[in-house]
Amino acid sequence: MNVKILDEAFGYCITRVESFNNEITVVVDQWSILAVCDFLKNDSRFSFDFLSDCCGVDRFPESPRFWLVYHLYSITHNHRMRIKTTLDDAEPVADSVVSIWSSADWMERECYDMFGIKFRNHPDMRRILMPDDFQGFPLRKDFPLEGLE
């Protein structure tokens, strides 16, 4: 897998490329997630047809506080890549990738449920694990382990 190709096509929105323990992480800016993912899925040199996982990370008290992390896998080429982006502290919003991989549906709902990260153009943006009337976002660092009450 040649990350340079991605760099040539999307160099303007790639913040950095990290390599740790043979895992490649590409950090992109939040506005280009949809375009980068679309390219990675449909370009035959990458063919990331399988979205393994999509999850949030809260780096509080660091700023920017929220990461959104995608783990991509290509069944065709048997390679993996991690795409990462940072989101705004006050109102974390990202573009939904459900139009690219249907599997993102519940994963993004879980991100919203646990971190309060909202997704634009998601078909069904509701809580998934916690009850609908639940207050707060449990996996945020400022949410106490024992719960709010």
Partner: protein, 384 residues
């Protein structure tokens, strides 16, 4: 008409609620409602040291606890860049493959039971019990063994356990023949499962479905082959695939997987290398238990690890294994402290359950029951 299936219903395998919108006997739409078993395991993990989390991973998927143990310790080992000894690899493979058999047996029994075949449950639970006994002898526990350690396994396996496993494997293939005798050519079984809940391999990939469900629709992706971990490349085995991707194909794939797993266990036991079962003492690895009582350095090391925990380098890793249900991954973000700042579990059941709506829409209500149980969900893993 809206029909409320669950959360307490024998065929939902735990606490799953599905709201089915019906037109006569046809399912027009289905809305799964999950989260009843949410225990916040990912949150709890942020407050535990790396060694303490092993116990939590048992509770994620209680039908395949050893697979969860393995996926987690492999992720931590990747973060620490330590390698466990060959003997530990083989013991891990033997145990997780036995776990796969146990999990598939439980699935087969309950799946057949859901579709009205009462008998197979009694046969499959008998064999599963034999595996549970083996686990109890080796690990001291049946459902929640917590047997894997960072750098190896908690204890060596002795000759008695090896003998028990051999005895089990010797007769297991005939037992699978028995199950097949009850079901494979049974006309009622075929009419209930053939052509039901079909999903093509492209749809599976797009929906993120992995494991036997994906393989039943013809895509031979198995992490044990594509990215071998824990010395899987030493073993000779095949990946069973289906062609149609219906409930019947998934049944056949899992039956064949049980045979392959038994064959892998056999190879692991017969080729078990000599040596240590856990890596030599180093910063992250617990010292041998008998040394703790006799050697002051080992005792100090033990106390430091248990009370404070170890400090991996800061960074992030993702490691996945082929659990009985599909791709089970652990994503760990470390800031160099004794506790992870994020532990994400990529649960195969959760992702696979998304396919339910696609399987049941426009089909008969009775087929919905077959579709729920064919996914082989463990609600503890779906909800975490």
């Amino acid at each position: 008409m809206a029909l409320n299936l669950g959360p307490q219903h024998p065929s939902t395998h735990g606490v799953l609620r599905v709201v089915l919108v019906l037109d006569g006997e046809i399912v027009v739409d289905a809305k799964p409602d999950i989260g009843f078993l949410h225990r916040g395991i990912e949150k709890l993990a942020e407050y535990r040291t790396y060694h303490q989390i092993i116990v939590l991973t048992d509770r994620v998927d209680y039908l395949a606890a050893l697979s969860n143990n393995l996926a987690y310790v492999l992720a931590v080992e990747k973060l620490l860049q330590i390698e466990s000894p060959k003997r530990a690899h083989y013991i891990r493979v033997a145990l997780t493959e036995l776990q796969r058999i146990a999990s598939h047996l439980f699935w087969l029994g309950t799946h057949a039971h859901d579709l009205g075949a009462m008998t197979p449950l009694f046969y499959t639970l008998r064999e599963r019990e034999a595996i549970m006994d083996i686990f109890e002898t080796i690990t001291g526990s049946r459902l929640t063994p917590s047997f894997m350690r960072i750098g190896g396994v908690a204890a060596d396996i002795d000759s008695k356990s090896v003998r028990d496993i051999r005895t089990f494997i010797k007769t297991f293939s005939e037992r699978v023949d028995d199950y097949e005798g009850l079901l494979t050519k049974n006309p009622i079984w075929e009419s209930r499962t053939r052509g039901v809940g079909i999903i093509s391999s492209d749809e599976c990939i797009n929906l993120g479905i992995s494991g036997p469900l994906l393989r039943a629709s013809g895509c031979a992706w198995d992490i044990r082959k594509s990215t071998p971990y824990s010395s899987y490349n030493d073993f000779d085995f095949e990946i069973p695939v289906g062609s149609v991707g219906d409930v019947y194909d998934r049944y056949l794939v899992r039956i064949k997987e049980m045979r392959q797993s038994a064959w892998i266990v056999n190879q692991a036991i017969e080729g078990l290398p000599e040596g240590r079962w856990i890596a030599r003492e180093q910063a992250a690895v617990l010292p041998d238990k008998h040394n703790v009582a006799s050697d002051i350095y080992a005792m100090i090391h033990h106390f430091k690890l248990v009370l404070e925990g170890m400090k991996p380098p800061s960074g992030e890793v993702y490691h996945s294994v082929e659990s009985p249900r599909g791709e089970l991954g652990f994503y760990i973000v470390s800031d160099g402290g004794t506790k992870p700042i994020r532990l994400r579990i990529r649960p195969p059941s959760f992702v696979n359950l998304q396919s339910l709506v696609k399987m049941v829409r426009g089909k008969l209500l009775s087929d919905a029951i077959a579709s729920i149980s064919t996914i082989d969900i463990v609600l503890a893993e779906v909800d975490r």
